[in-house]
Amino acid sequence: MVIKSNKKNYMSPEDIFDPNSKAIIIRDLVKKFDDITAVNGLNLEIENGELFGLLGPNGAGKTTTINILVGLLKPTRGKAFISGYDVSENLNKIKKLIGVCPQEPSFYKFLTGKENIELFGNLYEMDKKLIKERTEKLLQLTGLEEASKRKAKGYSGGMLRQLNLIIALINDPKIIFLDEPTVGMDPRARRKTWEFIGSLKEQDKTTILTTHYIEEAEALCDRVGIIDYGELIALGTPKELLEKYESKNLEGVFMKITGRRILEGI
């Protein structure tokens, strides 16, 4: 169900989204921090509606790539486009189009869960009715309705991560960046979050998921890009990669290419 806004000047992600452009195009992207090259000539295209997994050990360049795409970092070289908009030139439009779930739960702990969600809805200039409807819908989907009335300070680790995810979705974004969304969750909460992330695909969202959980990428993603030392070392559907590298799982694929385990870097 798509909830529409009555507000005249409000530009929804739907209004900005260009269905004829690819969701994400990355061309020769380089990011250096002094002598360290975090992203080294990355090339990647992600289709609309795709659930794409960016897999790699800690420090591989996953978060740096995401930070460039969402405008938190400027690339040293190269270009990146989101729905046809250049991230170096059209950041204002891009910000209205995307939703970002950072690695660490980031919101105001002295506010209740609901107040936090409403605050971020206001930052997207959504009208009050729309914020209320979206908030209720997302809380219902994640089962956080009761807890949302309490201050976030008292939330469990799993609840904090769920709220982190809800805030990223309040503006009903067309393209969603999820940076390690299930780190620290117990297996049950992780399963539930996987179901939730899977449901985003049914809503025709493009999702970019960074993770170092192999089973998460295998269970959820249409395609996976394995990144190491800032370079894309493998790209394809999980099935394609397993066949190509004659491996039982993506961990095996990574090991065959690099001689290391993904989890060694964690």
Partner: protein, 250 residues
């Protein structure tokens, strides 16, 4: 645009109410301070209520005293937000840095107004009888709003050079202590008067003492002080915003 500023301002005011440390620093501390000074130096309990007390001379400085601590509140707030990734999170929404800073300015102006009202009411309870009438009270609000802007700017400068909120608390005293000692109710010597000329709170206390204690109407000296304070607040805010933006990018 206003929707974002309003939502952020509301959130910042809730922070002051819900975080005990901030509530104490911004509202309870000025109350306690006025009560303590009022009891120690005021007319309560004395037989002579006609001649001015020490507290009467201190009261204008108490207005400024409370507002100076906004420096610490802002410095802690920005460093906390930075440490918890909140600045980044807000940065990926369409909110501009101007809207974010603007909400801090508005919320702290509101806090300054509440502080003036609280200190004023408490002072009256402690026997303070200001001259200057309603104009005097209004001028107190105007001066305090400008002082609150200076404090936000100094808080931003503190946050820019502080690596953590703990460090921000300590570093904020670089700007708090000189204003406390040379810009409020402590008598100045010719030497300390030179230092005081560079402190925003000096112009507030000096003007409010003239209006509230001496019954001066708005004269050229007070208007010059107001002008100096306004220029100071603009310069400090610009430096604070510039440094904080630069630091945040790094």
């Amino acid at each position: 645009m206003m929707q974002r500023v309003f939502a952020l301002t509301k959130m910042l005011l809730k922070k002051v109410i819900r975080e005990p440390a901030y509530l104490f620093l911004m509202i309870l501390f000025p109350v306690a301070l006025t009560l303590t000074f009022g009891l120690a130096f005021g007319a309560i309990g004395t037989s002579d209520t006609s001649s001015p007390t020490m507290f009467d001379f201190m009261a204008p400085g108490l207005f400024a005293y409370a507002c100076i601590f906004i420096i610490m509140l802002v410095a802690q707030s920005f460093t906390d937000d930075r440490e918890q990734g909140l600045l980044k999170r807000i940065n990926v929404t369409p909110t501009t840095s101007g809207q974010f800073m603007g909400s801090h300015l508005i919320s702290n102006m509101i806090i300054a107004i509440i502080q003036v009202a609280v200190v004023f009411i408490m002072s009256l309870f402690m026997g303070y009888r200001p001259l200057g009438g309603i104009i005097g009270v209004l001028m107190a609000f105007v001066f305090m709003i400008l002082l609150s802007l200076c404090s936000v700017g100094l808080g931003l400068i503190t946050a820019s050079i502080s690596k953590s909120s703990g460090a921000a608390t300590g570093i904020s005293f670089i700007f708090i202590l000189p204003q406390m000692f040379f810009g409020t109710f402590i008598p100045l010597t010719p030497t300390t008067e030179i230092i005081a000329a560079f402190l925003p709170s000096y112009y507030v206390t000096s003007s409010l003492s003239s209006i509230l204690n001496e019954g001066s109407t708005i004269n050229s000296e007070i208007l010059i002080n107001l002008g100096i304070l306004a220029i100071m607040s603009v310069i400090i805010i610009i430096i604070g915003m510039f440094l904080f933006k630069k630091y945040s990018k790094n």
